[in-house]
Amino acid sequence: MISIPIEHGLYLAAALFLLGLMGVLVRRNLIFMLMSLEIMLNATGLAFIVAGARWGEAEGQIFFMLILTLAAAEAAIGLALILLIYRHFGTLDADRISEMRG
């Protein structure tokens, strides 16, 4: 049985979340931005699991499962949109397709 401070689990979640945020802010390729979003969702789930383990409750895992569902739906829609954008514009550069003129 391990006993680590709850802060350390939350530090890890915070670090992963901020790495994902940095990826979204810096990268200009839509695929990488979507991957960074997945990192952020995963970090959120980690925070839920850590809190659930701290109090020995099942709720943490249930909310992790809901986040997982959200991530799956988001990835499916996001990747379909990426395919559409690539077919339409021939590029995935977020700056070049920022004009939204159909």
Partner: protein, 167 residues
Amino acid sequence: MEITFYIAAFVAVVSTAMVITRLNPVHALLYLIVSLLSVALIFFLLGAPFAAALEVLIYAGAIMVLFVFVVMMLNLGKEAIAQENRWLNPQMWIGPGALSFILLIELIYLLEKESSLLSSAEMVEPQQVGRALFGPYLLAVELAAMLLLAGLVGAYHLGRREQEEGP
């Protein structure tokens, strides 16, 4: 053993940092899978074996395979890598990196003020999770099912090729 947690956490942070700095999408995906697997190990250590299994199956398995398929379909060549390389000069990283680091320091400070031990002596069994999931959280399960159906229909509609103009 506490050390296993810290090793897995180190692997997760390093591989995530590699994800957001790779130029080739496939390399980034492989690092992302390593990151997800190490997070799954952490879940297991924290006494959440069901969540660990779901992480490996759904995140590292299903979602990442979806990404790999899309990267294969897009067939991004050397041009996309060169384009990202132009964007990815170190100057770009200074602003977001510094701001994120400030946020991390702030979070660590806020968390340090109150200290408590994470005792995972009691493992949360999958049975317990399932009982709660189909008891008080039944409505959430239904909503998740509707969300997945909407995602399925939306992804099909968006990914469909336009109908060819017939003669």
